[in-house]
Symmetry: C2
Subunit: 291 residues, 2 copies
């Protein structure tokens, strides 16, 4: 197999039109350059240059090979740059999993920051509930998850990235609206409660359950719905009230009013960013600096 240095030498001779001139350009003397090119010719098995007393000119095969050599050298150089870029994390892929809640809060701003700051990093976004995210992280199928945390399983590291309280969504004209925008959990427990499906929206389901359990209250569940949007629709239709993350209150529906709940914990809904500490994806490390 020939050497890239031999290609450099050959290209220089072909471009300069002489061995002596090319040797000068390459900061070397002419004899080793001659030997270099001859070695290349022996390897390729073809005479690439015709030498005459006044320089050297490429043969037809040499002209074709010159083209190939230039392309090869350019490619060799760009492959180095590309590898460096991947190592620096400015090129590559980050596979991100997110939950319904995180999609509303941290995912959007983060993803738009990433596409702006790391334009050559591809993002693969998949919605998963927390448990699925943990499995996928351990299996190496995703690089990072936005989930309830912190997961305490060994190779996983978690960092809180957002927390918010919950507010009460009620239909317009509901009796609780008379409380002037502030209710308590016992008020909530007195009414039918639309809540989340344990499977598809497990985090919110468990968060709501925990809130009432801690307050020693037993709400009256009337529905289990997967999507936050669906919850609001049912509330608007008058089927009950619902606790939703505060960020959801930014969605204004004509038939739904939001009330503060006084005795709900401030950071009831938390989003953690979870990844494997032994993940060697440099694009992940880079992406984590933007969250």
């Amino acid at each position: 197999m020939y050497t890239l240095d031999q290609l450099v030498g050959f290209v220089a001779v072909a471009e300069e039109g002489s061995f002596a001139g090319a040797a000068d350009r390459l900061s070397m003397t002419q004899p080793p350059l001659s030997r270099q090119v001859r070695k290349l010719e022996r390897d390729v098995g073809v005479e690439l240059l015709v030498r005459h007393h006044r320089g050297a000119r490429p043969t037809p095969a040499g002209r074709v090979f010159l083209d190939e050599a230039r392309r090869l050298l350019a490619r060799a150089e760009s492959s180095r740059l590309r590898a460096r870029s991947v190592a620096a994390g400015t090129t590559g892929t980050v596979r991100i999993a997110f939950t319904a809640v995180s999609a509303l809060t941290v995912l959007g701003p983060w993803a738009s920051t990433l596409t702006e700051q790391l334009p050559d990093v591809d993002l693969i976004l998949t919605e998963m509930v927390t448990g699925e995210q943990v499995d996928a992280l351990l299996a190496g199928e995703i690089d990072v998850g936005l989930a309830r945390g912190p997961a305490r399983i060994h190779p996983l590291t978690a960092r809180p990235v957002a927390s918010e309280s919950m507010v009460l969504a009620v239909p317009n004209g509901h009796p609780l609206t008379r409380l002037r925008g502030a209710a308590t959990l016992s008020d909530v427990a007195a009414h039918p409660l639309v809540t989340y499906a344990p499977a598809a929206a497990r985090y919110l389901y468990e968060t709501v359950a925990a809130v009432f359990r801690d307050a020693d209250l037993t709400p009256h569940y009337v529905q289990h719905v997967a999507q936050v949007n669906s919850v609001l629709a049912l509330v608007g239709a008058g089927l009950g009230v619902a606790l939703v993350p505060s960020s959801v209150a930014t969605l204004h529906l004509p038939s739904v009013t939001y009330l503060e709940v006084l005795d709900i914990p401030d950071h009831a809904v938390q989003v953690h960013c979870v990844w494997r500490s032994d993940n060697d994806n440099p694009a992940l490390a880079r992406a984590l600096t933007f969250i």
Copy 2:
């Protein structure tokens, strides 16, 4: 600049998953392979493999670089084959010039043989009169010409490739048809003669002129036409008779009859293949073996 051998080593390690295994595959020992790969990493400026107690696995940058390396090696190999093919004349380009006469006789069979036998050789065909062909050959603009020859200018070599006589084209019912298919030059000189334009069909013009000059006859020229087809059309229209190369007689026009001319030289029309003896295009050398 790194070495293609280093790439081979790196690819082998990445594929085998271990330095020792790769060294075995490459028929070398493990220490120099380790050093090879490390040198490559130092050159690229990136850690390509993570070594652990049970082999080595590529980093994300290493996976990307592995792809590049494989492509690079494949390209390096194919560039050798390509150069060899060009040198052997089975790949490349042959620029062929031809005259109107040669187009009817040798060009067609030769070109079809070439496209069949040398499918990777591109043919560039250009119609030129003999003088233009000589200029183009000397200027290096074409590789070979099919022309009247032989040219005696120094770097040019010529080889006769076809010769033919001329026949007389007359309109149907012309008085000369009563001669039962055989006329003489003096018969021809007694009738208006459609002949060739000296500029665009110089060879045939001069050939016809020479035929009559040698016979001490002065024909009555009535037209100077560039194309053989046009000559036949004018003959068919009754404007005169014409001498055309025998091969033209294969074109049957409803209103034209061909007569043999008894005292016309057998090899009046000759086609030579002309090229520069110092032309180093291997595809030309190859192509010349098929004419």
